[in-house]
Subunit: 136 residues, 2 copies
Amino acid sequence: MHYTRDNMAGLLRSHDINPTHQRIEIAHALFSRQEHLSADQVMAIVNTRHSETSKATVYNTLKLFLEKGLVREVIVDPSKVFFDPNTGPHHHLYEVDTGKLSDIDAAHVQISGLPPLPPGMVTEGIDLIVRVRRKA
Amino acid sequence: MHYTRDNMAGLLRSHDINPTHQRIEIAHALFSRQEHLSADQVMAIVNTRHSETSKATVYNTLKLFLEKGLVREVIVDPSKVFFDPNTGPHHHLYEVDTGKLSDIDAAHVQISGLPPLPPGMVTEGIDLIVRVRRKA
DNA sequence: CACCAATCTGGACTTTGTCTAATTTCCGGA
DNA sequence: TCCGGAAATTAGACAAAGTCCAGATTGGTG
């Protein structure tokens, strides 16, 4: 599957998002790379040639994608949030010294023995982050 | 066990930290409450009566405590880092709408099926965060 | 007491992200 | 086609968390 801009329009529509120019560019940045990007990185990519998309739009759009379930938010680094185009069940491997973030397929990972939730609460999500470092 | 300021001095020494006035106050704030506090909250607590400790010192001290293994860093909220006086094995329950953070004892939680680490890497830690929300 | 190293401080600065008021774009109907 | 309004975008001011630095304080040792 190629992540062309045209396909992006369809993807956005299927998530109930009005596919504008800027939104298509931002979706394309995320999905064509299949990588975890910060808002900063998205802005840099989208504005490589000529400055086309404002900071406010990048933030608004990423938040919109989040609400519509098109991307997931990954919080591993206190200084910036990453956006993850992979919304399937998976965990994360974070290389502390380089800042590199990669996926761990959840298919074979089992988490058991969690205590019951406090009453009246529902699970929003379970984040499992394995922090690693290059051996000394 | 009471977390008196005198006991704090001993705790700091046992972690190879020179127990200064400010460090004792900061340790006391964290350990007497046994709660997750942000840098901001620590500063507010320490400076309730008269302003005694500068922002720089609060941040430096918390970073020092972190390096010396006296506290743990919990990254759940993109806007601020929490510091956790509990360094035993445990996970976290985060109430998304209220920002309340609590511990989950790791004793009965089992995580299995994680893939092998990339070669040359060592695990720094595994963070498991259960995000919950009040039922609609 | 004097000295030196460690520590602390105020404040300027940086970075990430939010907000707002004004403009631009898009689309349906006359 | 032209118009009007809603949706989207924009620049830039602003806010909050955290870093950095140069100078002042502190504390222990000879």
